[in-house]
Amino acid sequence: MASTAKAIEPIISAAWGKPQSWTLDSYRQRGGYEALKRALEMQPAAIIDEVKKSNLRGRGGAGFPTGLKWSFVPKDSPKPKYLAVNGDESEPGTFKDRYILEDDPHMMLEGIAIASYALGVHTCYVYLRGEFKFPAQRCQAAIDEAYKAGIFGKKLMGKDYELNVYLVRGAGAYICGEETALLESLEGKKGWPRLKPPFPAVVGLFGCPTVVNNVETLASVPAVFQKGSDAYAKLGTDKSGGTRLVCLSGTVNRPGVYEVSMFTTLSELIFDDKYGRGMPKGRKVKAVIPGGSSAPVLGADELDVAMEFEALKVKQTMAGSGGVIVMDDATCMVRSLWRVARFYAEESCGQCTPCREGTPWQTRLLRKIEEGRGEPGDVDMLSNVASSIAPYPPIGLGNTICALGDAAALPTHSFLMRFRDEFEAHIREKRCPFGDKPWGSFGDWS
């Protein structure tokens, strides 16, 4: 397929791959920190209004309107307020925040400065997943530069307003990407999610009002003030402004992170020359996970859908974290779901019984089916186990404190809905129909 997808002007990824793009000099040459100057001339409440008008939505997974989230922080609280940046990017299929941290960390730092000033925050913690050694080095170097240049510290860009930004590295736990588990971890504890309400905006870090925002969300904030909120909103749909990053992986010719418009469809992402450049020769799409491994899987005939929160909701799946995983027709769906299920079993924090017990149970059943030991009734059993973690269709949260339960159950529900025949075939034939090549034979290792 040639390139027919409408080109967009990149915002977040504009400087990636350019020499020294991660330095303050480079960022300033591109007009960096001018948006902060503009914001510092405004009243905090007006800044929040601008972000509301921009229709910017959270890029971490849930897609919550950012300005609205900011407005939940009580203005008259005598307690200190905090900003926690969620850089715990660990959802399988998601690898976008890493590039912001590595290639243009100042864009996020400028967003942090604007958000902090608007919210009355004087201390911000940037929480990065522990495995991000190199991204953490780049990010810390950028923070140091910002202090040295008088952007952070006692006087925020010369204004009489103190802002301190600290980087904290996690230590290997997917659950810490859940916002309340992240706060527990920031408090020096194991990452056990908290019951909500109260929401972090009211009772967050150290019991104080706290906003938790994703790396990409904050990196999107400067553009709102550079372009103006109306212009930013107009880039997107009625309910979702701006551009977004999507991560393309799996069996496509050109995986990678691409900045797309809210109108770009999944099939454009996979096939267009600007993006994935299609499937390897002779292969066809079988299934696509559109928003990180917890997002319900779509079949090959469902790809004509925009990668945007509302459009994907209509397809009963989600835009989530932007992690698009493509599986070709040589990929075994049982094997794929088994691998995803194992992830959630490994990462369940153990707090809630349905998730702690249900996630390994799913894994055991899937392994049994994939290894040809499945019995009649096992597919129903699998469906029941998933339902006991989180029923389908979802009614709010499932039977657990946090959304990890839903994240673990939704893949099972959706794989069974679309590919049940393949599961039954494993049981009927007492083997994996793909033989010893359940992953096809793609890449250098085949």
Binding site: R98, E131, K133, N164, S249, G250, R339, V340, F442, G443
Partner: protein, 162 residues
């Protein structure tokens, strides 16, 4: 007498590190520094020896049990001394579609270790998604990323580990 935990130089590094960590939090919230403090200890010693956990706890004014609770929750902390090189191989979906399971099998054979095992030189582990799905398959060696791995590339990396 038991060996002291730190050499004088290590002690200096630990004390300076702890002071810096604590300064990032409100005065009554020293315990918030647990994750960075454990990382500091591991950076110095290569793992988290029990007497080190007790020392971290004392510095952060919590019980040693609390330090152990956190240390045992997160997979990146080593409660046993690992091999000189810790190899974490991602086998999650995107990596497996690009051959990660075969890469792991190759490593198991080459190193003579099963995933989850260790010797003096190597600790080999299967790990969860490392956010390199677009440059699969990938692994980390002592937290350094190696991506888009081919057999030739992996062999060259391993050859450099002495």
């Amino acid at each position: 007498m038991a060996e002291p935990l730190f050499t004088p130089e290590e002690q200096k590094k630990f004390d300076a590190g702890i002071a810096e960590i604590i300064s990032h939090y409100p005065p009554d919230r020293k315990s918030a520094g647990m994750l960075p403090a454990l990382r500091l200890l591991q950076d110095i010693k290569g793992w988290l020896p029990p007497e080190g956990l007790r020392l971290v706890a004392k510095n952060l004014e919590v019980t040693p049990e609390r330090a152990m609770e956190v240390a045992s929750f997160y997979v990146m902390y080593h409660l046993k001394k690992p091999g000189k090189y810790v190899i974490d191989v991602c086998t999650n979906l995107s990596c497996s579609l690009w051959g990660a399971e075969k890469m792991l099998a190759y490593l198991e054979e080459k190193l003579g270790l099963k995933a989850g095992e260790a010797n003096e030189k190597f600790t080999l582990r299967e790990t969860e998604c490392l956010a390199s799905c677009g440059t699969a398959p990938c692994l980390q060696i002592n937290e350094d990323h190696h991506e888009s791995l081919t057999k030739a590339k992996l062999d060259a990396i391993l050859a450099k580990l002495s």
